[in-house]
């Protein structure tokens, strides 16, 4: 039984979440191959070869895959799928984009966003913004699965897998890349950070997010935001933590000026330790916080920064 795991990357580095997806694949059990589809992505392939538990790294290095357009990547993965019983990707924007396309091309449904593996055909996944946990059994012959990385630990990276170059070049010719507008940050990725500090509507404006930066620098933290803060234009969309934004589970999550709507809780309540700072003692965020501080954030944040 073989498992194909799609490697998430940006043509330069392998995303840390892929190491967790490999753990999910190990729980299913079988020979694990990693697929690196991109352009000039040799560095990613080299990193992928070190991922423990992987026996082979397939590299499709072609201009058609440079931006990992769903139309092109789904054709590639569908071509390769004949040799695998499980096809797995991480539930990040690339995987969420092309994997359902693969599933439909294979005439199977997709099991999305799993957080647990019960057996080779039975998986655990959150529904209703994590307010219910479903155990589902796939009845399809092939399983197409996306993995919520926060549900699994990362594998180590001292392996030595064989790298195999593919000459596939599937270009559907119906879509093209125009431009990227990516946020440049020195801080760790939200999905990979050990500490996350997020601001909500209580921050009042984008300028005030600077109050979080000093603390983030001291803790090596990533900065996130609630939907309210993103919708209000305080910060860009890629900072949103929640049901439809990023799902994070760091060791420490600090929620500042966030009331705690269920959609936000869905994105962070699996964090190991949650701290809430809010001046409203009735805010629902306090119901999930391990440590709550009822205070005005404009007083508490500078003090916290000075005492760390």
């Amino acid at each position: 039984m073989s498992i194909l795991v799609y490697a998430e990357h940006d043509n330069n580095t392998l995303k840390a979440e892929t190491l967790k997806t490999v753990t999910a694949a190990q729980a299913i059990g079988g020979d694990i191959h990693l697929l690196v589809a991109g352009s000039n992505c040799q560095n990613v392939a080299n990193e992928a070869a070190k991922v423990n538990g992987v026996s082979k790294v397939l590299v499709a290095d072609n201009a058609a895959y440079e931006h990992q357009l769903a139309e092109n990547v789904s054709l590639l993965v569908t071509e390769l799928a004949a040799d695998y019983e499980h096809i797995i990707a991480t539930a990040l924007t690339t995987g969420k984009n092309f994997m359902p396309r693969v599933a439909a091309l294979l005439d199977v449904t997709q099991i999305s966003d799993i957080i647990g593996v019960e057996s080779a055909d039975t998986f655990v996944r959150p529904i209703y913004a994590g307010n219910a946990i479903a155990t589902v059994q796939s009845l399809d012959s092939k399983k197409v699965i996306t993995v919520r990385a926060t549900g699994f630990d990362a594998v180590a990276t001292d392996g030595n897998a064989e790298i195999v170059a593919l000459d596939n070049a599937t270009d559907a010719g119906i879509s093209s890349h125009v431009s990227d507008e990516l946020t440049v940050s020195e801080r760790p990725d939200l999905g990979a950070a050990g500490v996350v500090i997020s601001g909500g509507r209580g921050m009042q404006n984008g300028e005030n997010f600077k109050l979080l930066e000093g603390i983030a620098d001291k803790l090596g933290a990533a900065i996130g935001a609630s939907r309210a803060a993103v919708d209000a234009g305080f910060v860009p969309n890629d900072m949103q933590v929640g049901q439809t934004g990023k799902i994070v589970a760091p060791d420490l999550y600090i929620a500042v000026g966030i009331s705690g709507a269920i959609q936000h809780l869905a994105g962070m309540k699996d964090s190991k330790v949650i701290v809430a700072i809010n001046k409203d003692p009735e805010a629902p965020i306090f119901q999930v916080a391990d440590y709550g501080l009822v205070a005005d954030l404009f007083d508490a944040l500078p003090e916290l920064e000075s005492k760390l």
Partner: protein, 250 residues
């Protein structure tokens, strides 16, 4: 151009769902239902395309029992021109939903299909992509901006690192993200007018598709509850607790 907007009836997003005591599913008895928020954004975008003179006709479609006509009437009140209910009592998997929608696309030949990126009940985020695969069309998922230009549509997508803009050949499939637009409220005259707009009912069984389930729902349980925490009195105490009790900072 013709725009098709598939919509889904789901639990209202303000309602906290409860799991049934026998763990077979969630309890939706007497729960307020509504149009899925992402689907509502899709309807709004279609209406804006019509107001801008780009779209000529908007067709809303929903798959479910008679109760989903309520959400179709909402779409009609927001500005859709006509509606189709594909009648079924089954709770269909996404692939089967996509197969039914594929038939509607073949029949109606829309230039653009606008869908919500995910429904807030099953949280699958897959129907739009599956429909794109089955119809062989290009897809722009998680859209925060949609611009029709000639025979292409430019879609700006919300991705992990920020925003990405892609160009798709029309016809195309677009799924909506939160910030594509802010849906309007239906006015009372439009709600009244919607009652007289055409709503066709078709039986899912008549489409000749094998709609058997692809997934067995074995059980549904409530999530693990977090232990109630403590309220600290000061920043000093917070720092002390994080260092010595939680041991998450040094």
């Amino acid at each position: 151009m013709k725009v098709l907007v598939p919509i889904k009836r789901v639990i209202d997003y303000n309602v906290k769902v409860r799991v049934k005591p026998d763990n077979t599913n969630v309890d939706l008895a007497n729960v307020k239902m509504a149009i899925n928020p992402f689907c509502e954004i899709a309807v709004e975008e279609a209406v804006r395309l019509k107001e801008a003179g780009t779209a000529t006709e908007i067709i809303a479609v929903s798959i479910g029992d008679k109760s989903c006509q309520e959400q179709l009437r909402t779409a009609l009140a927001l500005g859709a021109d006509r509606a189709i209910q594909i009648d079924t009592d089954q709770n269909l998997d996404s692939l089967n939903v996509a197969k039914l929608l594929q038939k509607v696309v073949e029949e109606e030949q829309p230039q653009l299909v606008l869908l919500g990126k995910q429904s807030i009940d099953s949280d699958n985020n897959q129907t739009g992509q599956m429909l794109a695969a089955l119809t062989g069309l290009a897809q722009g998922t998680f859209a925060s901006e949609v611009k029709v230009e000639g025979d292409k549509v430019n879609v700006t997508r919300e991705v992990d690192g920020g925003l990405q803009t892609i160009a798709l050949n029309l016809p195309a499939i677009v799924t909506t993200d939160l910030r594509l637009n802010e849906p309007r409220y239906a006015s009372l005259p439009n709600i009244m007018k919607a009652k007289r707009k055409p709503l066709d009912v078709k039986s899912a069984a008549d489409f000749g598709i094998d709609l058997s389930a692809r997934v067995n729902l074995l059980k549904v349980t409530p999530p693990a509850e977090r232990q109630a925490g403590i309220v600290v009195e000061s920043v000093d105490q917070l720092v002390e607790k994080l260092k010595n009790e939680a041991k998450v900072i040094s």
